[in-house]
């Protein structure tokens, strides 16, 4: 049985539906992320797990116990907020010990646990500083330690890195993941940053308009998107309009015919579809020598991204294709605007959406 279960959750605010038909099972020790654009219901769902919102319908159970109507003070769920939410009048040490004091632990037990937590976040030297004397990253580490000090059954992180700059965000997200692994604590992480979600999670829940679009491992979410929304929202994707030609997996795109095999088997002939292909899945070549099944294209623009080049390629009736090629390889190509190139669209990687 799953450790944390959300069954048929629905949440409305007046006439607006924030979350609907939400079913999820989280295993003990799992790191799960809610990923989606602003207003998709990910924070509302997390707030329902924390007890700050009550579901309009459905149940939430934790370790086999129904907690749907339980007060947030009694859930034993730790939460880390985007704005840190440290108590300004307390030092880092006292912030971490706050929950332990409420739990009625002895002074010695509190001191011992707080010291343990300060070691975990590597902030022993800053223990007596007040929140306003700490950097954003340090404040969020204290907030994490405070949430973990009370040994919660589930840790909830609500966009904890959004207020930090890129460099700190990357190091802190790795730190959070290391701590989560070390403590084996069940964690639910809310973010709108796909890189963050894909890099730290065991599984990702992609949400849109209050509903789950897809649940899967980061690799599944990226390489096998189940809906056009997931395909479009996670990473970059080329969408090419096409028509199903027959029952044998052939799709027509203008004068070009692609055989996408079983990917098109769900669609009847003459159905208008969209072929989807990641930019890095396009194979880009110089115009000479001619490659089999390659389409002639011209460079519309080229962006240097550091390790890769992003090429915008005009492909006639296929529209503009986005290709991403390793920088070292791109140097062997002519990437000047208007330069002629050719591309292959690997048929087995073409996904088909309506």
């Amino acid at each position: 049985m799953a450790f944390l279960t959300l069954t048929n959750i629905r949440k409305t605010f007046g006439a607006a539906i924030a979350v609907d038909q939400f079913n999820l099972q989280v295993e003990r020790g799992e790191f799960l992320s809610f990923l989606g654009p602003s207003g998709c219901g990910k924070t509302t769902t997390m707030r329902m797990i924390a007890g700050f919102e009550t579901p309009t319908a459905g149940t939430i159970s934790l370790d086999g116990k129904d907690i749907t109507s339980l007060s947030p003070t009694k859930r034993n769920v730790g939460m880390v907020f985007q704005s840190y939410a440290l108590f300004p009048h307390l030092s880092a040490r006292d912030n971490i010990g706050f929950g332990l004091k409420i739990a009625g632990q002895s002074k010695d037990a509190i001191a011992e646990r707080v010291s343990e937590m300060l070691d975990l976040i590597k902030m022993q030297p800053q223990a007596d500083r007040y929140p306003h004397q700490l950097s954003g990253g340090q404040q969020q580490r204290v907030a994490l330690a405070r949430a973990l000090a009370v040994k919660p059954q589930v840790l909830l992180l609500d966009e904890p890195l959004s207020a930090l700059d890129a460099k700190i965000r990357e190091s802190l997200r790795n730190e959070i993941r290391d701590i989560q692994r070390a403590l084996n604590i069940t964690t639910v992480y809310v973010t709108h940053d796909q890189e963050e979600a894909l890099s730290v999670s065991d599984r990702v829940v992609v949400m849109s308009a209050g509903r789950i679009e897809q649940i899967g491992t980061p690799i599944e979410i990226y390489s096998q998107p189940q809906t056009p929304f997931v395909a479009d929202f996670v990473g970059s994707m080329n969408f090419i309009p096409a028509t199903v030609a027959d029952n044998k997996g052939n799709v027509r795109c203008g004068a070009h015919m692609f055989n996408v095999g079983a990917n098109a088997s769900a669609f009847a002939p003459n159905t208008a579809v969209r072929l989807a292909l990641r930019p890095e899945e396009l194979r880009v070549f110089s115009r000479e020598p001619q490659q089999p099944d390659a389409l002639p294209v011209t460079v519309s623009s080229a962006e240097f991204m550091g390790t890769t080049y992003r090429l915008h390629l005009a492909a006639g009736e296929l529209g503009t294709l986005l290709a991403e090629v390793p920088a070292n390889y791109a140097r062997t190509l002519n990437t000047k605007i208007g330069a002629p190139l050719q591309v292959q669209l690997p048929h087995d990687m073409l996904r088909v959406f309506v």
Binding site: M79, S83, P88, H89, I102, Y130, A143, R146
Partner: protein
């Protein structure tokens, strides 16, 4: 830094003179109780007057009770409004402003009509009604101060953070919210203190032995002493303002409520 123009300085000087000249004149007059000699005779007489001591002590005592009662009434209310019914914040603001609109005479008349009858007549027989009236009079200042203090902290998130750690709402209010609005509370408390110490209308109508009626009494019967009392009142107010500034600077991580950092 941009340098101030001569016109700016001129206006500052005019403003300063407007406020300081009457004060300097009053201070000068209060020191001339002895003929052809400057001295503190008027102050000595004031401090030697048992009525000064008794009325001052009474008002001090009433002001402290008023401050405590105001805090108990206003802080949980303002906290609740911000947390649970933010849509009604404007309504509450309007209600707290009513004491500035309703004349003191009308207010006292209303209070004495309601609390002068059974089972509340003890209110009018004791200083209790005077305290209630002062709480009402100081409401705009205390509510505003507390509201500004609450606005400076993220009440919602701090409350949720405390709740997620197992804290009840009363615990959160006393252990998280109160300590983070101490400067705002002190600001409201000192304003309340200044109002109660100088309150005249209600004290007279309710026949209370307060400092306000005493000042009025000596100003109609003495020459130099009223000026001395006025200066003492000013010093008291300045001490309060100074205390707000000082405490505001010392409070860790808190937003300054009065004055600048």
């Amino acid at each position: 830094m941009k340098r101030m123009s001569i016109t700016s300085w001129l206006w500052i000087v005019i403003g300063a003179l407007y406020f300081l000249l009457p004060l300097i004149a009053t201070a000068d007059f209060s020191l001339r109780a002895e003929k052809d000699k400057l001295g503190f005779l008027a102050y000595q007489r004031v401090f030697a007057d048992p009525k000064f001591i008794s009325t001052f002590t009474f008002s001090l005592y009433i002001s402290l009770i008023t401050i405590v009662a105001s805090i108990i009434l206003v802080v949980p209310t303002a906290y609740w409004v911000r947390l649970r019914v933010p849509a009604f914040r404007r309504v509450f603001e309007f209600i707290t402003l009513l004491p500035l609109i309703i004349p003191a005479v009308v207010l006292v008349f209303g209070l004495s009509r309601i609390y002068g009858k059974y089972p509340f007549q003890f209110m009018i027989e004791t200083p209790a009604l005077f305290v209630v009236g002062n709480v009402v009079f100081s409401l705009p200042y205390m509510y505003r101060s507390v509201d500004v203090g609450l606005r400076a902290i993220d009440v919602h998130t701090l409350t949720e953070a405390a709740q997620s750690l197992g804290a009840s709402l009363p615990y959160t209010l006393f252990r998280v919210i109160f300590p983070n609005i101490t400067v705002a509370l002190l600001s409201g408390a000192f304003l309340t203190f200044a109002i109660v110490m100088g309150e005249f209308t209600m004290a007279s109508l309710l026949v209370q032995p307060a400092f306000g009626p005493y000042m009025q009494l000596i100003s109609s019967s003495k020459v130099y002493e009223p000026s001395a009392v006025a200066i003492i009142s000013f010093l008291l107010t300045w001490m309060c303002t100074g205390a707000i500034q000082l405490l505001g600077r010392r409070a860790p991580g808190q937003t300054q409520i009065a004055g600048s950092r």
